[in-house]
């Protein structure tokens, strides 16, 4: 093993490559790793794995990471860590590492590559089943590996089989319904050599398995007595492994405190390493003769029927004396290591994530795996299958009746003590879930891995119940902590969520248009000239549309191709207005409602042939509308012969808007007869525009003469550029979504989702003209419901601020005049839905929903903004060209 350098609290030390940092700290005599969170008591390494409650560090090298158990950090050259007391720091520099996720489907997933997991692997890897083995340690072997013993070759070889995927350093953090496991693989932190920047540091695995074997092993638990938290007090398996496997030296004299036979095995291991085990203190009165002989042979004093009741420390706070209460006396022994064998608790967390209750096993004095559903099994220690439990009779978790219960620690990381537990019981609590919240036991970073069973044991004694009556704490995923970046994977920055773009997107970027998010779409918001702000740009764009000609990319509108002999009947049922009488080649604006009669979406639909329509929807409503159509066709009207196909991206749409648009389209499509007589409002014509085959529709969302050019999206970018070239002489101006909103608001056209929020009927919006009286359609019956039919509903109205320069904020609420200051009840009568500054009106204006608004024309209302009350007059919602004189140019 090669020696490497690492830094702890700004000092350089040496350690062995790949060993746990905790081992290197111990070997370098760093017994005090940190202070406890609340009581600032010195704390050192306590455990060996994720159960570690004390020795957490902040990693400053590499990607940096706060609050990592030093037991789970593999030593590499250049590692820099520092001690932290409870709270970590989020690294502030940019993390250059990559993170990703991966999906995996297997026949069998084995969690844990200890002896039991590998035995399961031997069984399941036969018959060419696809097996995945994951294990959170650097190498397979589990408990046997800690003992520095070899796993039979026959088992290890199974890991190399072709049908086996084997991952170490991979922790299952969640188990969900239908055998779905989320596991986190740490892939680069342990690599010494220069890491390839392209290798993801952490990979989150999403695994679906037909069968899962839980071979998660067990964890030793804490015993409670005064001053049980000093550096130098370790779980016995951890202590033995540090001394025996990692050869940390460090400790001279040890005492082992045990409640079971496993403590003896650890004592013998420790004693072999040169650390003298002075005594084994066992709470039991008797042990087996053979064990007794082994201990005698090793020259270790055996103190049966006794307990540790206190410890003492040197000036650093590290253990130097243990106080033992035997049947006859109190004794002190000098020792710098106290190894605690408080019993093993099966690691049942994953199974309990499925809301399964672990089973109390009297024989092992612990909760073991619950009864598992089909497809899920457990094996080995996780299942409570311990070898040395015949003599495990004492139910002992600590001393209840000692004076110093305020320094008898139950949850080391939370500094929660026996006194806290007693206080909780004294306050009348008996449910372990309540106790958990009251004492904070089990709520720290380690989620009480070493303290859970101990808490339950002490509590059962305090309230005189059986442990199984007390039950266990509820564990929740993730089983261990890990960086958020592992959750995010590569879904960061531009990959956070799909960005949908139109075929003309690059041109918009070239023209410096800021983008507005419309659902997942990016749409140009406005096109500023040099030094122009948004307000100035929008006024200029509006002026161009009203006076000359302006161009917009409308490709994001949803488009649905509807075919079939019943297509017209279908549309009559979907839309509030009639479509079966639409002429071929003509377009019509339509409104659709939900069954509740509330406006759902709108758009223009064109009859392409007798049995074929092209529906357009709002940009953000496209998917919703297509789903809606499918729902009615498939679940209500299967007899209608109609099919719907999304063609949103097949067609691109370029709108030319303004009085000069006719001249421009004439120039672009010389063969097209553009006279109003032959190409009327809402008509469609096919022609080549700049040489590109197009469908041109006379549709207007601004009130101006306008043409929408529809082409296959492949041609959109070149056509856009070409139109620009040819439009120069007409002062062709590009405009974005903001100007589109202003233009339509000046005409009082609603935007579904802006004026509406799913609680407006067409009548509320003043659109009774679009509601057919002749036919049935979705939502019609609801217009007669008492609530929908009442007369004082909120109506769409216009607002003109008295001060022409005041802009009402969208969303602001509206109150009756002179009622706001005296705080009258019921003064709130509505809200502003859209508000802009208009070039053509030379003033500000707004659209609003106001209670009974249509019958309040001319009334003055007030809009409270901060300390200000802005007055505005209620007016008709159409501000510009009420007579539609501009529509035909």
């Amino acid at each position: 093993m090669s020696s490497v350098q690492f830094v702890f609290d700004n000092k350089t030390y040496h350690g062995n490559n790949g060993e746990p940092l905790s081992a290197a700290l111990l070997r370098n005599h760093i017994k005090v790793v940190t202070e406890s969170s609340y009581l600032f008591r010195p704390r050192g390494v306590f455990g060996l794995g994720y159960e570690e409650p004390n020795a957490l560090v902040q990693i400053d090298s590499g990607s940096g990471e706060p609050m990592v158990p030093s037991t789970k950090i593999e030593l590499v050259d250049g590692l820099e860590v520092r001690s932290l007391a409870g709270v970590g720091d989020l690294p502030t520099r940019k993390d250059e590492a990559r993170y990703d996720k991966k999906y995996k489907h297997v026949d069998v997933l084995i969690i844990g590559a200890g002896l039991s997991g590998l035995k399961a692997l031997e069984k399941y890897s036969k018959n060419n089943k696809k097996v995945m083995v994951i294990d959170d340690q650097p190498s397979a072997g589990g408990f046997i590996g800690d003992l520095n013993q070899e796993i039979p070759k026959k088992l290890m070889n199974c890991l190399k089989l072709k049908n086996v995927v084997h991952l170490q350093r991979t922790t299952a953090i969640g188990l969900y319904d239908q055998n779905y496991v989320v596991a986190v693989e740490r892939r680069t932190d342990h690599l010494n050599s220069k890491i390839d920047k392209n290798t993801a540091r952490i990979r989150t695995w999403h695994i679906r398995a037909k069968e899962i074997v839980l071979a998660t092993g067990a964890m030793q638990r804490v015993l409670v007595f005064p001053n049980n938290d000093r550096p130098g007090i370790l779980l016995s398996h951890a202590a033995a492994t540090y001394l025996d496997k990692y050869r940390v030296g460090t400790f001279k004299n040890a005492v082992v405190f045990t409640v079971d036979d496993y403590g003896y095995e650890d004592a013998l291991r420790i004693n072999k390493t040169g650390t003298k085990v002075k005594a084994i203190v066992d709470v039991r009165q008797n042990i087996s003769k053979s064990l007794e002989q082994k201990i005698k042979k090793a020259n270790i004093e055996l103190i049966l029927g006794s307990k540790i009741i206190d410890t003492k420390a040197d000036f650093n706070g590290c253990l130097n004396t243990v106080v033992i209460k035997t049947e006859t006396e109190n004794r002190e022994i000098d020792a710098d290591l106290l190894a605690i064998s408080g019993g093993w608790t099966p690691t049942v967390h994953l199974a309990t994530f499925l809301n399964l209750k672990p089973i109390w096993d009297e024989k092992i004095q612990a909760f073991k795996m619950p009864n598992l559903p089909k497809g899920l099994t457990s094996t080995g220690w996780a299942n409570g299958e311990f070898e040395k439990v015949e003599n495990r009779t004492a139910l002992y978790f600590g001393e209840l009746n000692l004076n110093q219960d305020e320094i008898s620690f139950v949850d080391l990381q939370r500094d929660a003590t026996l006194r806290d537990l007693k206080r909780a019981v004294g306050a009348g609590l008996s449910s372990i879930e309540h106790i958990k919240r009251y004492t904070t036991i089990g709520t720290a970073h380690d989620q009480g891995k070493t303290s859970g069973t101990t808490t339950m044991g002490l509590l059962s004694a305090l309230i005189n119940k059986k442990p199984y009556e007390v039950g266990t704490l509820t564990f929740r995923p993730p089983y261990v902590t890990f960086p958020f970046s592992a959750f995010a994977g590569r879904e960061l920055g531009i990959l956070t969520d799909p960005i949908r773009t139109t075929p003309i997107h690059d041109e918009h970027l070239k023209n410096n248009a800021p983008m507005e998010d419309v659902g997942q779409w990016k749409r140009p918001w406005y096109f500023p000239l040099e030094k122009e702000n948004m307000h100035e740009a929008v006024l200029r764009e509006c002026k161009a549309a009203r006076n000359d000609v302006a161009i917009m990319d409308a490709s994001t509108l949803g488009k649905i191709d509807i075919q079939g002999p019943d297509a017209a009947i279908f549309l009559d049922r979907i839309y509030t207005n009639m479509f079966s009488n639409l002429k071929i080649g003509a377009s019509r604006y339509g409104l659709m409602c939900g069954v509740d009669g509330m406006v759902f979406d709108d758009g223009v639909t064109t009859r392409l042939s007798e049995n074929r329509f092209l529906m357009t929807t709002t940009t953000s409503g496209a998917a919703k509308v297509l789903d809606w159509l499918e729902e009615w066709l498939q679940t209500e009207w299967p007899n209608l012969n109609v099919f719907c196909t999304s063609v949103t991206e097949h067609w691109a749409t370029i709108a030319l808007v303004g009085p000069k648009s006719r001249n421009l389209i004439k120039k672009l499509a010389p063969e097209l007869d553009v006279t109003n007589e032959n190409f009327a409002f809402m008509d469609n014509k096919y022609a080549k525009v700049a040489g590109i085959p197009s469908r041109i529709a006379r549709i207007s969302f601004s009130g101006e003469l306008a043409y929408e050019i529809n082409i296959e999206s492949w041609y959109a970018k070149e056509l856009w550029k070409e139109i620009f070239k040819q439009g120069k002489e007409f002062n062709l101006t590009s405009y974005g979504t903001e100007t589109m909103h202003v233009l339509r608001a000046e005409k009082g056209f609603v935007i579904v989702g802006q004026e509406t929020d799913g609680t407006q009927t067409p009548q509320d919006l003043g659109m009774d003209w679009i509601v057919s009286k002749k036919k049935d359609f979705i939502g019609k019956r609801s217009f007669r419901r008492s609530d929908t039919a009442k007369t004082d509903r909120h109506h769409l109205v216009g607002l003109l601020p008295i001060d022409k320069t005041k802009l009402l904020p969208e969303g602001a609420y509206i109150v009756i005049k002179d009622t706001f200051k005296n705080k009258s009840k019921n003064s709130h009568i509505g809200y502003v839905t859209s508000s802009y500054t208009s070039d053509v009106l030379q003033r500000t204006f707004a659209l609003a929903m106001v209670a009974n608004g249509r019958n309040k024309m001319g009334q003055i209302i007030e809009v409270p903004i901060g300390n200000d009350l802005i007055q505005a007059e209620i007016v008709d919602s159409v501000f510009y060209d009420k007579e539609n004189r501009h529509r035909d140019g």
Binding site: Y176, D177, Q178, Y180, R208, V595, D596, A623, D627, E630, E631, Q634, T635, E636, P638, D776, K780, R781, S782, R784, R785, S786
Partner: protein
């Protein structure tokens, strides 16, 4: 993420589906003949049982078909799925 059995595509991840509420709530034959109460019950009222529930799901990111399926609201277990207008399998035990 649950696996949901689409009658046409087999087991697929929940992310591919949209929930469609209680199954077998038909559009009333003649809405105009219904009282406000009856119409409101069609629009707004749905069962909310603890246990097995026949639901509609839409395989929106897959074959884009609506179907019905039994689901246990307590255990998240799925029972048999079935196509619209086919015989409903009996409630799972």
């Amino acid at each position: 993420m649950l696996l949901i059995n689409c009658p046409w595509c087999g087991s697929r991840d929940e992310t591919e589906f949209h929930y469609g509420s209680q199954a077998h709530i038909g559009y009333p034959e003649n809405p105009e003949n219904l009282t406000d109460q009856q119409w409101a019950e069609y629009i707004f009222f749905r069962d909310n049982p603890k246990g097995w529930f026949a639901e509609r799901w839409f395989h929106s990111a897959g074959c884009r078909k609506w179907f019905n399926i039994w689901r246990n609201t307590l255990t998240h277990e799925f029972g048999p799925s079935y196509k619209p207008f086919t015989k409903q399998p009996s409630r799972p035990k």
